[in-house]
């Protein structure tokens, strides 16, 4: 089964075709957040170089979040549109699970972290074991300090992957149990999304394009953090919008 995969959940835009545990083609661009301009020509170029026609594709997989608001919408929109046009099913994969699959085949704890800004990260926890990727914690948004507590309780070393890996590694420095994923394994790869999709298909049914939805994680520290400096918020009256030309 050929799966066309896409990840645009952060700064990297990545596309791939995987089939039965093999990467047939893969292409990534990490030169700025211009996914709306990048992904379609990138996929077209990749498919044409690999001489794979869209008709050969059996399923489309996309990382559905968490991550960049705009990025996720572009990825979901692109896959939804293509799947609809091709009349093929699709599948949404957690961005964090996709990142953990960069480490599939290697034993040990893997903690994907994406920078959610303001000292918070999107994170989860996985364990590589006997060639599989086991999920230990659900996707969630956490302050870095809380994640540190979670990781401190693990019995063995843990590898940080994702665009927040370096940030967390720095913030939690001095912890000998932490490992930073090397650059070639740190960021989103569409092939990892594809492999996670292959695994998921063993137990789950694919989605109709209309049912594919972005998954945003709510950030717990909402309002308090946003208005950090006390008494700085503008004075606002309920009728302020009326009669002021605003």
């Amino acid at each position: 089964m050929k799966i066309l995969c896409l990840d645009t959940s952060a700064k990297t835009a990545s596309a791939a075709v995987v089939e039965d545990n093999r990467i047939l083609a893969e292409s990534s661009v990490n030169t700025g957040l211009t996914h709306s301009q990048t992904v379609m020509p990138m996929m077209e170029g990749m498919l044409s170089a690999a001489k794979i026609s869209l008709q050969e594709i059996d399923l489309l997989a996309v990382s559905h979040g968490p991550g960049s608001f705009t990025g996720i919408r572009i990825g979901i929109g692109a896959v939804k549109g293509m799947a609809q046009g091709l009349r093929k099913p699709c599948l949404g994969i957690s961005t964090l699970e996709g990142l953990a699959y960069n480490y599939r085949g290697l034993d040990g704890f893997v903690c994907p972290v994406m920078d959610a800004r303001c000292g918070q990260v999107y994170t989860a926890l996985f364990q590589g074991k006997d060639g599989t990727v086991l999920r230990l914690r659900e996707d969630e948004a956490l302050p870095i300090a809380e994640l540190e507590t979670v990781l401190a309780e693990l019995p063995e070393a843990v590898t940080l992957v994702g665009d927040g890996a370096e940030l967390c590694f720095r913030t939690m420095n001095g912890k000998e149990k932490l490992r930073l994923a090397p650059p070639q394994m740190r960021l989103q790869r569409a092939s990892s999304v594809g492999f996670a999709a292959e695994e998921m298909l063993k137990t789950a049914s694919p989605l109709a394009p209309g049912d594919l939805m972005p998954v945003y994680l709510r950030l717990p520290q909402a309002e308090r953090e946003l208005l950090k400096k006390e008494g700085n918020a503008p004075q606002r009256k309920d009728d302020a919008h009326v009669g002021t030309g605003k």
Binding site: G32, L33, R117, C118, L219, E225, K246
Partner: protein, 142 residues
């Protein structure tokens, strides 16, 4: 700190137009000043200074307007933004990484999410048309 006494909207616009030449991609300008202070007038000057021909208006309803110039200018109105989720769904964090210049009206509402190197533009009324404009930050460029 750079400070300027403006006597009319036209002067405010000219001041902003000149300031634009000292800005670079990635800069965030946070505006402070109440309704009618002249924030949008200031941004209009910025856009012109950066070479945009677009009409500039307050992005009250769209939340963000993007003006094509070099670097691109992204104009936010945070008046209706109250939570982190609100802010996230404006794409603000994506724009921060886009290499454009961000001009943020009602920045008081997102104080906790502004990057440390943010340039603050405070506009205070000093009469019907008079305004005092204070520009702070920018690593000594102004």
């Amino acid at each position: 700190m750079l400070s300027f006494d403006s006597h009319s909207p036209a002067e405010t616009e000219r001041f902003a137009e000149e300031l634009a030449s000292k800005l670079k991609g990635g800069d965030v300008l946070a505006f402070k000043g109440g309704l009618g202070a002249g924030k949008t007038t200031f941004v209009r000057g910025l856009a012109r200074g950066l070479g945009s021909q677009s009409e500039v208006s307050s992005p009250t309803f769209a939340l963000v307007h993007e003006y094509s110039c070099t670097p691109p200018l992204c104009h936010f109105d945070m008046y209706r933004i109250h939570t982190f989720d609100d802010l996230y769904s404006t794409g603000f964090f994506d724009y921060l990484d886009s290499g454009g210049i961000l001009a943020v009206e009602w920045s008081e509402n997102i104080d906790g999410a502004l990057p440390p190197e943010t340039i603050t533009v405070t506009i205070t009324s000093a009469g019907e048309e008079q305004r005092r404009i204070a520009v702070e930050g920018g690593e000594g460029r102004f």
